[in-house]
Amino acid sequence: MTPLAERTLQVLGLHPARVNTPVATNHATELAGALCTVWQRQLDATIEHGTSSVDALTKTFAGIERQLAQALELTEQAAKGLKGDGAMSGAIAGANERLNDVMAMIQDAVEANHAMLATVTEAVNAVRELNQTAQSVELISQMTTLLSINARIEAARAGAAGQGFSVVAYEVRRLAAQSRQESVAIMQRVARIEQVIQQAADSAEAQRARDQDLIARSREDARQIVAELGESMNQVMAASDGLCDIGQQTRTSVAMALVSFQYQDRVSQRVSHVRDSVALFAQALSDGWPDEANLEGMDARLLKSYTMPEEGRTHRDEPEPDQSGTGLMLF
């Protein structure tokens, strides 16, 4: 028996001395053939299960990758919206400007009320002047009454010549009394008007003070709201930046996973070649135990069937070289 044949039998777990008989050879052949059939089925099942599992896993991964890509696109759009032209920071500045415009309009309205207050104050002053005029009229009527009394006294002294003058003095006194009554009535009405107007002026002044306070508080509230909004937007932008960073890391991880998934193809091919070599061996056994030339022929056929360089290295029990090649040739 050749050394190669002995080695082959040892691989099958068969002792050369026991096998080297016609009966033993037939039994060994049957056993080997049966084992080869079983091994082929097992390898086929391995290829099928491995391929279907990886296919399902790859499809699931593809779905996850699509969802990640959509999420990343939305994140990048949001980040662009926050930071680009017309972005949220600009919107905050615009809102601040509009709030300032509203406050300015409120201020204008308040100042218009204050102008009205000034008009009311002018009315109060005019009423006071009117009161003074009424008082002047009262004084004039009093003096006229005194004058008429004096006139009647002089008329009495003049005797009969003064009778006509006495009548005139009497009429003057009566007119003075009437004038005095009217001036008193005027002063009473003017006093009432002055009271009402003063109440209006006092209310307007109180309202003015409240308006100023309200405007001051509203300005402060608006400033605080805009500041809080700006702070919130800064936090959103920081979170968006964080999401973009995570997105880049995710893309890198996806690229690494894509490389890993490809190894299934190589594994599947390698297992297929092992199955084919088992079939080759079974065929060789069915033709009778191979001699040395046939074994060497089988060896050569196996080497030729390989499609990947590492299969040949494994066949010859050679070490794997450093994997530093690019794997791409451009023609």
């Binding site: 391929t51 990886v54 296919d55 896993l57 790859t58 499809k59 991964f61 593809a62 990758e65 890509a69 893309r251 996806v254 690229a255 894509l258 490389v259 890993s260 998934f261 490809q262 190894y263 299934q264 193809d265 190589r266 599947s268 091919q269 499609t307 990947m308 360089p309 690019t326 794997g327 791409l328 040739m329 451009l330 023609f331």
Partner: protein
């Protein structure tokens, strides 16, 4: 609409993996499971590049390449072989039949995309 790349490979997972890389770079992807399937799907739209495996049941990649180049409409369509094969004689056949590149699996996505960008029709 992005440029269209056809992937020809009997492995569903390889087609998915290559498709993820290409779609992520903005390409449209058309898939075929072997050479015969690929030939049947030509003509529907302009194809800017074909990426094909070599070892496939039915019609293998080198036979597909040969048949493709017989058609005038695809004479100048660039083809990149993407395969586990690296035997010099197979590479020589691919080059002779008109392949523009030969890339072995597993590929780095950025390297594949760089090659695609270089080869794809304008």
């Amino acid at each position: 609409m992005g440029k269209c790349v056809m992937i020809v490979d009997d492995s569903s997972s390889v087609r998915t993996v290559v498709g993820i890389a290409l779609r992520g770079a903005g390409y449209e992807v058309l898939e075929a499971s072997d050479g015969a399937d690929a030939l049947s799907k030509l003509g529907g739209q302009k194809i800017h590049l074909i990426i094909s495996d070599v070892n496939m049941p039915g019609m293998d990649g080198l036979t597909f390449l040969k048949e493709l180049k017989k058609q005038a409409a695809f004479k100048f369509t660039p083809v990149m072989m993407l395969t586990t094969e690296s035997a010099a004689d197979k590479v020589a056949v691919g080059k002779a039949e008109g392949a523009r590149a030969w890339m072995t699996k597993p590929f780095q996505p950025e390297q594949m995309l760089a090659a695609v960008q270089k080869l794809v029709l304008p």
